[in-house]
């Protein structure tokens, strides 16, 4: 895949016996999964299979939802993030998230990107400018917006807004990016841009992406986990999942027989 192949990837994130309940509903059933550093791990499966829920439990976004109960562990760099002593705010700084629907703040492009660093204490204007530019460049948006940074984020197209959200997440310098169907609302061209971006970002970040689109999973990811009914049915190299799946259910799903 790339030159880093020889070195064994270590599991930047891994979960152990992760169970999640929405009230009575058992949404995640004992998930054990490794997500390797500097790799893209795709989570696929039919809707309602728990893949987004799983993603949101990696940076404790499910804490915000009422009636959610979580058992088991999620390790980020071998620290259990559900340990009472772990601060979810710091966790989220380290594990950034991109949402399904682009959700820029009703502010200017610049202020969107600067939002996180500013709150985290960056006051220096020159450094901020530099950070904003770097983040926008990383998100492959800089060339399109560099002359209109003061414009409202809502003036951007859907695909640009999503890349702005990526830039915004990058600006707080996370190590992991969680992407929840980042391209599902976008047209094919914008989707291609996002995929290209993911490919570039993985040299610097550990990426976990939820996707509905199997071609997308095949294109961007190194590993793929197939979720079904709150369980991981199969987890393997992406090539293998799509070419020689071990499980019948996986095969049925990736060949489009259900889902």
């Amino acid at each position: 895949m790339n030159t880093m192949e020889t070195a064994a990837p270590y599991a930047k994130l891994h979960t152990k016996g992760l169970n999640l309940y929405y009230g009575q509903k058992h949404a995640l059933k004992g998930i054990d999964l490794d997500m390797k550093a500097y790799k893209v791990t795709a989570l696929i499966g039919p809707s309602g299979c728990g893949k987004s829920t799983f993603l949101r439990s990696l940076n404790r976004m499910n804490d915000l939802i009422e009636n959610v109960r979580i058992e088991g562990s999620v390790f980020v760099d071998n620290v259990d993030v559900y340990n009472k002593k772990v601060d979810e705010v710091q966790l989220r700084k380290k594990v950034g998230m991109i949402f399904q629907k682009s959700n820029p703040f009703p502010k200017s492009i610049y202020d969107n990107v600067a939002y996180g660093p500013r709150i985290h204490g960056l006051r220096d204007k020159a450094k901020m400018d530099e950070l904003v530019e770097r983040s926008l460049r990383q998100a492959a948006l800089w060339d399109e917006v560099k002359d209109e940074l003061k414009k409202s984020a809502f003036a951007l197209s859907g695909g640009q807004q999503q890349r702005l959200c990526i830039a915004r997440a990058l600006a707080v310098e996370p190590e992991v990016l969680l992407m929840d169907e980042p391209a599902s609302a976008l047209d094919p061209i914008a989707t291609a841009k996002i995929e290209e971006l993911i490919w570039e970002l993985k040299s610097t970040y550990t990426i976990v992406i939820v996707t509905h689109n199997m071609q997308q999973a095949a294109r961007v990811s190194d590993y793929t986990a197939f979720f079904y009914m709150g369980k991981v049915v199969e987890f393997d190299f992406t090539e293998r999942i799509f070419t020689q799946p071990k499980e019948k259910q996986t095969e049925d799903y990736v060949t489009g027989r259900f889902g």
Partner: protein, 302 residues
């Protein structure tokens, strides 16, 4: 059969329509009468002069100033408290939790208490209890300073009365802030309070303002709570500190219509005072309605 049914249907529609029409007509009647009776008396002098000749002549300037100061102090206290309560209810506690239900119950109860009871409370708590306590503390000689009706106590009483208005309005606005935005901020490792401060509150500004305006409009129109907490018949000068009494438009109107020495002679003044009061509350209500309309539109399209 069919024809009888159609006829009955027409009758139902006409009757209910008439009810609606009567309600609307009543509004038009009141407004028409007051505008007709008052518009000629509203002059620059009327708005800028003090009453004279035993309140049978002159203007209503002190009452306007008094009303303004009253609602200003009221908002300075009530709006922050109401906003914070709304933030607490919508951001910090579960809707279904005991705490939320208890506070909500308290707010609803507060909204239902008659205005005159607030007046009694203002007298019993602010004037006779807090005021007296302050006098004991600050002036051991026993002179009455705070233990008397004044504009501060009246404002605080009104702030309490209008608190539910602010809370409801701000809560409604906070609800329109999309969950997405909150999550976007939290996912950047921003704390809860910072998210509220940088994302939720700026995006609820319209609702906070609407709440403030509605509260002011309500406060400017309530007379019962200030009857014995600070309003005065007549004062030769404007209030100079929060421990002074004050004149107020609604109270002034009440006094002029019921205790005036010459009711017939002051009728134009009464009309004009009513008109000023009505215009004031209308202007406030209209801007609140307009802002709320914009807020709702945002919720639909955002």
């Amino acid at each position: 059969m069919m024809r009888a049914k159609n006829l009955l249907g027409k009758a139902v529609v006409t009757f209910t329509g008439a009810c609606a029409f009567v309600a609307v007509a009543a509004v038009v009647w009141i407004m028409g009468t007051i505008v007709w009776g008052g518009h000629r008396s509203i002059t620059w002098a009327f708005l800028t002069q003090a009453p004279s000749n035993g309140m049978t002549e002159g203007g209503i300037f002190p009452a306007i100033v008094g009303t303004f100061m009253l609602v200003l102090i009221m908002s300075l206290v009530g709006v922050p408290v109401g906003t914070i309560t709304a933030v607490y209810l919508s951001e910090y506690v579960d809707r279904q939790s005991k705490v939320a239900q208890i506070i909500r119950f308290a707010v609803n109860t507060l909204a239902g208490i008659p205005a005159i009871v607030f007046g009694l409370f203002g007298l019993g708590f602010f004037v006779n209890f807090t005021g007296k306590g302050m006098d004991h503390l600050f002036s051991p000689t026993g002179t009455l300073h705070w233990a008397q009706p004044n504009i501060l106590w009246a404002s605080l009483t009104l702030a309490l009365l209008t608190l539910p208005v602010v809370i409801v309005s701000v809560e409604e606005a906070i609800k329109t802030v999309p969950r997405d935005l909150r999550e976007a901020s939290l996912a950047l490792g921003v704390t809860k309070w910072q998210t509220i401060w940088r994302v939720v509150l700026p995006n609820s500004m319209g609702g906070i303002l609407t709440g403030a305006i509605l509260a002011v409009s309500r406060g400017a129109g309530e007379v019962a709570p200030i009857l014995f907490t600070g309003a005065a018949y007549f004062l030769p000068h404007l209030p100079k500190s929060v421990s002074d009494q004050f004149m107020e438009l609604g109270y002034h109107l009440y006094i002029m219509t019921t205790q005036s020495t010459d009711v017939e002679k002051t009728l134009p003044i009464q009309y004009a005072t009513t008109l000023v009061l009505l215009m004031l509350t209308f202007a406030l209500n209209f801007s609140a309605i307009f802002m709320r309309y914009r807020l709702r539109k945002r919720r639909v399209f955002a």
